[in-house]
Subunit: 135 residues, 2 copies
Amino acid sequence: MKSFATTVARPFDEVERRVRAALREQGFGVLTEIDIAATLHDKLGVDRPPLKILGACNPHFAQRALEIDPSVSLVLPCNVALETTGDGATRVAIVDPRALMDDPAFSSLAGEAAEALRSVVKSLGVDEDPGLHDR
Amino acid sequence: MKSFATTVARPFDEVERRVRAALREQGFGVLTEIDIAATLHDKLGVDRPPLKILGACNPHFAQRALEIDPSVSLVLPCNVALETTGDGATRVAIVDPRALMDDPAFSSLAGEAAEALRSVVKSLGVDEDPGLHDR
C-alpha cells in the first residue's frame, strides 16, 4: 500500500505528539487509536516493538467523499502508523488516500487529501524522501 | 473497494449487536468505532442517516500479517460499515481483506480472513448475495 513516510530520530511519544499537532494543522482529527503492540501482547502474549495506528479524518474531505460514493466508509479513516525502529528512532507512515480511493471520481479529492497528508510528513523533519513509498 | 455486504430488515442497533456477536464468533474483536453521522453533525452541522464504522481485528490474522509485512498496519483493522437505508433497514458491508492486502505474499492469509468475514455477513440472514460487491 502506498504511503508517505519518514523516520525521525526522536522517541515515540514525542513524535506522536508532533504528528497529532501536524494533523490538526491540516484539519485532520484523530478519531481512533490502536496500540497494536499492547493488543497483541494482551491477546496472544506476543512481544513486539511499539506500533500504534492513529485513524485520521478531515471532516470536510470525508463529507465530500461520502457524497461522491458512500462506500468510501470502507476505507475511512486514513491510517497513520507509528513504530519504533531498531535504533530507537520513530518511523511514521501515512497511507496515501489515492491508493484507497482509486476510482477516478475521487481523483481531485484524493489528490487534495494526499497533499495535506504529505505536508504532515514533511513537517516532521525529513530523514528520508517524503514522497511515495511502497510500504 | 470490494466488500461482503447484506441488507437486514431490522433496526440499526439490533443489527449492530448481531454483527458484533458474529465477529466475536469468528475471532474478531472490535478495536475502534466511529459514528460518522455524529462526527459530521458535530464538526460540520451536516445531517445524514446513521452510519457507523467498526474496526474489526482478529489478533491471530493481524500477527501473521505483520510477520509477512509490517506495512500491513496501513490497512488494519478491517472496516465494517453499518448504515440505515431509506426504508429503515440496515445495510452491513465488510471490506474484503483481499482487496486491502493485494500482494501475493498475503494471498493465503487474506483468503482465510475473507472467508471468516464472509461468514459474518452470511450469518446475519441474507437479503442480497453475500458475495463480492463493488461497494
